[in-house]
């Protein structure tokens, strides 16, 4: 076709601009890959160090004394499992209730203060949470799984609350109005219409909070303390994976250090499984 307007759609400066753009994209890609590096490095290192000491006994036996070979971390795995479960029973309903309040009823000054306090609680160092529970519970009742789980729940609470709030806020307001317009009371609109509509996202938030608390060491040092054996009850000092890893790693005995690596591997695998499981769950919900 003949050119009537004599338009130019390419130029030298254009090519220069494209080159610059590609260069910047390249730098960004490099930095993004670099950001993944610590993750890959940690995973590879933990797996290579830990896989050798991982056997059936690791899951079923108590730790052996220093100098003896064999044994396992059954007490720590059970202790961590128990405390994370108890923490969930306390932290998930509590955190979700707070998140629902902030999202659905949170207007005005009270809500602003609460939201700010929740954010502050998220950034409180976990060791301070441990000391707080020590002063609140351990001084009176001693070291126990109860105290450990409570400390974990305090850490979990703001994470669950804020994620619940943010997720509910993503639901457009006309959905709430549609519920109200059907003559459904507000609380039922929230629990029976809004929450089921975003359950996948809510579960994701909760799972990430569980992954976060499962690896906490500092708050458990002051609350559950640790235990070389199985705890007889929930009111006794209780072993946990992070604390046991910490103790074994600094013990100076090669056998215990190897066990610590295996424990670290289990912890990393647990977090993997949770993240992977969450994604699988979302995928399943969508299809």
């Amino acid at each position: 076709m003949a050119s009537k307007l004599n338009l130019k759609v390419t130029s030298f400066t254009d090519r220069k601009r494209k080159l610059k753009s590609q260069l910047i994209i390249g730098v960004l890609l490099f930095l993004a890959l670099l950001a993944c590096f610590p993750f890959l490095f940690i995973s590879a290192y933990v797996i290579s160090k830990g896989i050798g000491s991982l056997d059936w006994a690791f899951f079923t036996q108590l730790p052996k004394g220093p100098g003896e070979t064999g044994g396992g971390m059954a007490n720590a795995i059970l202790g961590s499992g128990t405390m994370v479960l108890m923490c969930c029973l306390l932290g998930i309903p509590w955190g979700m209730a707070a998140g629902i309040y902030l999202s659905e009823y949170g207007e005005g000054k009270t809500a602003r203060i609460l939201r700010f306090a929740t954010d502050l609680l998220t950034s409180v160092p976990s060791i301070v949470v441990g000391i707080f529970i020590y002063g609140l519970i351990v001084i009176y009742f001693g070291f126990s799984a109860h105290a450990g789980a409570t400390a974990l729940a305090v850490i979990m609470l703001p994470i669950v609350a804020r994620s619940t709030e943010e997720i509910l806020k993503l639901i457009p307001n006309h959905i709430r109005e549609a519920g109200l317009a059907l003559g459904i009371p507000r609380w039922k609109v929230i629990l029976r219409i809004l929450v089921p509509g975003c359950v996948g996202a809510l579960v994701t938030g909760v799972m990430l909070a569980i992954a976060r608390v499962a690896g906490e060491t500092a708050p458990l040092l002051f609350t559950a303390l640790g235990n070389q054996f199985f705890a007889d009850s929930l009111s006794q000092p209780t072993a946990s994976l992070p604390v046991q890893i910490y103790n074994f790693a600094k013990s100076g005995f090669p056998d215990l250090e190897r066990q610590a690596w295996a424990g670290a591997l289990i912890l990393v695998l647990f977090v993997f499984v949770i993240n992977f499981g969450t994604r699988a769950f979302i995928y399943y919900k969508k299809s």
Binding site: E177, A178, G179, L180, A181, L182, G183, K188, I193, G197
Partner: protein, 253 residues
């Protein structure tokens, strides 16, 4: 049935300091379709949201005046807005099926949360509502599929079915077809005309042909005031007010 199902007296609605609806008096008869027309921002939507007490759910919103629904003042003492809304259904501008709920559950949810648990009662009500909203044949084989997976026009008919399922005597519609294509619009208009046998419809519309096609009476709003209200045929052929005439002939708005 003769008489007024809705009687609005001196209704004033506000958003904080903004006076959105000014001293409106208007009544609607049983089994009537009333259209509200007027330029954007003239208070039509706010006005109908006062008829099911949804206006007050917006932070900073309030209203004064009386609205008599079947002889009872919905702004009277001791009135529960939840019960009012059960009797005055609403369809919104944007189709808004509940996310995560199936087609069936979207229609059943109103009854279910009102305490109906019997499966047979629910399925009958859902089928009836979907038939009335002319959606049944299109969705009867995929009731378990999510409501958000339907097309825009189907979603809006689903929302109408959802509103019909709880059998409210009055249904408010806030520009229900403005987001839809002409074919879906035609279906919904047909539907509204048929609904007249069972319910009373108050509909906000920007489409004046639509108002003239479906409504018995039309109200013209301007800047929060009710300028003229009367038989639709008369409003569109011999409006009494100069502003109404200017608006419907497209000279402003």
């Amino acid at each position: 049935m003769d008489g007024e199902v809705l009687k609005v007296e001196k209704l004033n609605a506000y958003f904080n300091d903004f006076h959105a609806v000014k001293d409106v008096d208007l009544s609607v008869n049983y089994h009537e379709v009333v259209a509200l027309i007027g330029p954007s921002g003239c208070g039509k939507s706010t006005f109908i949201r006062c008829l099911n007490r949804l206006h007050e759910e917006v932070p900073g919103a309030r209203c004064t005046g009386n609205v008599w629904l079947d002889g009872q003042n919905i702004y009277g003492k001791g009135v529960d807005p939840v019960v009012v809304r059960r009797n005055v259904g609403m369809v919104f501008q944007k189709p808004n099926p509940f996310p995560g709920l199936s087609i069936f559950d979207n229609v059943a949810v109103g009854l279910r949360l009102a305490g109906v648990t019997k499966k047979s009662v629910l399925s009958e009500a859902v089928e009836e509502a979907l038939r009335k909203s002319a959606l049944w044949t299109e969705v009867k084989d995929k009731l378990k599929k999510p409501g958000t997976g339907l097309s825009g026009g189907q979603q809006q008919r689903l929302c109408i079915a959802r509103a019909l399922a709880v059998k409210p005597p009055v249904i408010l519609m806030d520009e229900p077809t403005s987001a839809l294509d002409p074919i879906s619009t035609a279906k919904i208009e047909e539907l509204i005309v048929e609904l007249k046998n069972d319910v009373t419809v108050v509909i906000v519309t920007h489409n004046m042909q639509q108002a003239s096609r479906i409504s018995g009476r039309t109200a013209f709003f301007l800047l929060g005031e009710l300028i003229e209200y009367g038989k639709t045929s008369k409003i569109f052929t011999k409006p009494q007010n100069l502003k109404t005439e200017q608006y419907i002939t497209g000279r402003f708005g």
